[in-house]
């Protein structure tokens, strides 16, 4: 993967842009979950599934960008779609922005998933579900999405079902397998030879263990607090097995070396 990864990086080179993007569509998908489409041709043109953008707030007291994964790319329309949960003041402010307003974004950022032509399991947990949708659409092979929700409020489920097989877990057991995504995989006999995943750290930890057990590759998308978003400030590191290319100290940068890592590469 590292060869391909560095190739992706090469391709990305000279491709990041900071633009003012118009909010084309902004709706609520579910309680506290928002769906925003942005007009950003230059970024949409370059974007890959699994990459993210930095979203800047209009509130001038909040200077740092919010990293948000790309949930959908429409290269023809020149739009990007993001789906986010309001967790703090920044995302709450974002949720107040109206269609027609402009928002500053930087992207596309990070490496994105490296698509392999192998029977795929796409796993999303909670707000880690949206980043899997574009990959689900793009993968041209046998694929099953395993989506872990809290309860039966299953945002985006329909859209996954429109492009492939979907297996569900809910924490409260109100739909699909009661439990987590690994429970669902086991209970519903999902099989594949590669995993692509995004979700909370405990879930990723479970997936890493599961992939090791099954002896298959798992590409997992990680999160960390960021400042620059482009690999310069060293804020967003995670522990890696190998020495990293930047500082040679086993610290990979989530924003640049990731957010997608081979599960074997990183400590969780």
């Amino acid at each position: 993967m590292s060869k391909e990864n560095s190739q992706i990086k090469e391709n990305c080179k000279m491709s990041k842009k900071q633009v003012m993007a118009e909010i084309i569509r902004h709706t609520s998908l579910s309680d506290g979950i928002f769906d925003m489409t942005l007009k950003a041709e230059e970024i949409a043109k370059e974007a890959k599934a699994g990459q993210f953008i930095s979203v800047y707030l209009n509130n001038k007291s909040k200077i740092l960008p919010r990293p948000i994964s790309i949930c959908g790319i429409d290269k023809e329309a020149g739009t990007l779609r993001i789906v986010y949960r309001t967790v703090g003041d920044g995302t709450k402010e974002l949720s107040d922005y109206k269609e027609g307003e402009m928002v500053k974004i930087l992207g596309p950022l990070g490496n994105g998933f490296t698509q392999k032509d192998k029977k795929a399991i796409l796993i999303g947990g909670g707000i880690g579900i949206p980043p899997m949708l574009e990959l689900m659409k793009q993968l041209d092979c046998d694929k099953t999405a395993v989506l872990g929700y809290r309860d039966s409020d299953m945002f985006l489920k329909d859209e996954f079902e429109a492009v492939g097989d979907v297996v569900i877990s809910t924490e409260d057991g109100s739909f699909g397998t009661k439990g987590n995504v690994i429970d669902a995989i086991k209970e519903q006999g999902v099989e594949g030879s590669i995993i692509y995943a995004c979700g909370p750290t405990p879930m990723l930890r479970g997936i890493k263990a599961y992939a090791e057990e099954m002896g298959i590759e798992a590409q997992i998308s990680m999160e960390e607090r960021m400042a620059c978003g482009i690999g310069a400030c060293l804020a967003c590191v995670c522990k890696s097995k190998d020495v990293d290319s930047h500082s040679h100290v086993h610290n990979k940068r989530v924003c640049k070396d990731g957010p997608v890592f081979d599960a074997r590469e990183v400590e969780l």
Binding site: E224, M226, A227, A232, C233, H246, S247, H248
Partner: protein, 300 residues
């Protein structure tokens, strides 16, 4: 119109450089900024050996600024000399290398290693609040600052710029100690030590508890210190702290800075540095000022 300034015999083609640690060694910003058009690139602090830095979270947002406790993660001088200097050289950048260490020996190792390198200036960071040993200890005591400056100056082949901490009672006393010991120029300010608590988790936001505050919020403190130092010593000053526009930069220049660094603002807009250069030009045109040097310290 002349935009070039002189820092200890080194010509910067314009007065704008980058705040150490906010610009890497330039590569990540090269898609946004032509590095050869900057006054200089100031690199992230480099030590004698690789440093892993602090645990995450390393950054937190605060009102009008941010806290960081990166803890000076860096690849060490060997990788830096092999990879970063050639990269910057090829990009046509004027190079200021920021040097960090935990002991005098650490600093001297780096400085000696850079002796035969095509580096223009050395910025000596004795003011990082985020590492336990060394660093800031040198930057908060005039005697210790004098000694480290003297030692570094004796070994350095390039002019040296001591970088001062704002977390002191009297910045002019520190500036004088550094200049008396031979510092050819001064950089200020490094970050103000701050803290943020997450009241929901009832815990510090940063793994390191405290972090260095930077960004627009600290500008008034920085301008004040630059003014004080410019009126206390006779060496050129690289002013920084919250600069995100040409207007900000001009405030520092008028207060007495010969050059300025753009730090945290690079995270808000990666093209800030060159926009600041352009804005300074526009100001000078509008006010019919032919030489930027006329503005340095013009407010008394």
């Amino acid at each position: 119109m002349n935009l070039s300034v002189d820092i200890a015999g080194v010509t910067m083609k314009n007065p704008v450089t980058t705040g150490s640690g906010t610009f890497g060694s330039g590569e990540e910003f090269s898609e946004f900024v032509d590095l050869s058009k900057l006054g200089a690139v100031t690199t992230k602090g480099v030590a004698n050996v690789p440093w892993p830095g602090n645990s995450v979270p390393r950054v937190a947002e605060v009102y009008g600024g941010m806290l960081n406790a990166i803890g000076l993660q860096n690849p060490g001088i060997d990788v830096f000399v092999e990879r970063d200097i050639p990269y910057l050289k090829k990009a046509g950048a004027t190079i200021i290398v920021n040097v960090c260490g935990k002991s005098e020996k650490d600093y001297l190792e780096v400085v000696e290693r850079l002796a035969d390198q095509p580096v223009d200036l050395l910025e000596i960071n004795v003011s990082c609040p985020n590492v336990k040993e060394g660093g800031i200890a040198f930057g908060q005591d005039p005697k210790a600052l004098y000694d480290i400056t003297k030692a570094v100056k004796a070994k350095a082949k390039q002019p040296i710029i001591m970088k001062l901490s704002p977390n002191v009672t009297d910045i002019t006393e520190m500036a004088k100690a550094a200049v008396d010991a031979g510092s050819d120029a001064l950089s200020l300010i490094n970050t103000l030590t701050g803290m943020k608590i997450d009241i929901e988790r009832r815990d510090f936001v940063l793994a390191n508890k405290t972090g260095g505050m930077s960004g627009p919020a600290i500008k008034p403190v920085a301008v004040r210190m630059v003014y004080q130092v410019a009126n206390a010593v006779d060496v050129p000053i690289i002013g920084m702290g919250g600069i995100s526009t040409a207007e900000d930069a001009l405030e520092f220049i008028m207060a007495g800075a010969t050059a300025v660094s753009v730090g945290t603002a690079n995270f808000i807009n990666p093209a800030t540095t060159l926009e600041v250069v352009d804005g300074i030009k526009t100001y000078m045109e509008r006010h019919q000022i032919n030489d930027i040097n006329e503005l340095i310290g013009c407010v008394k």
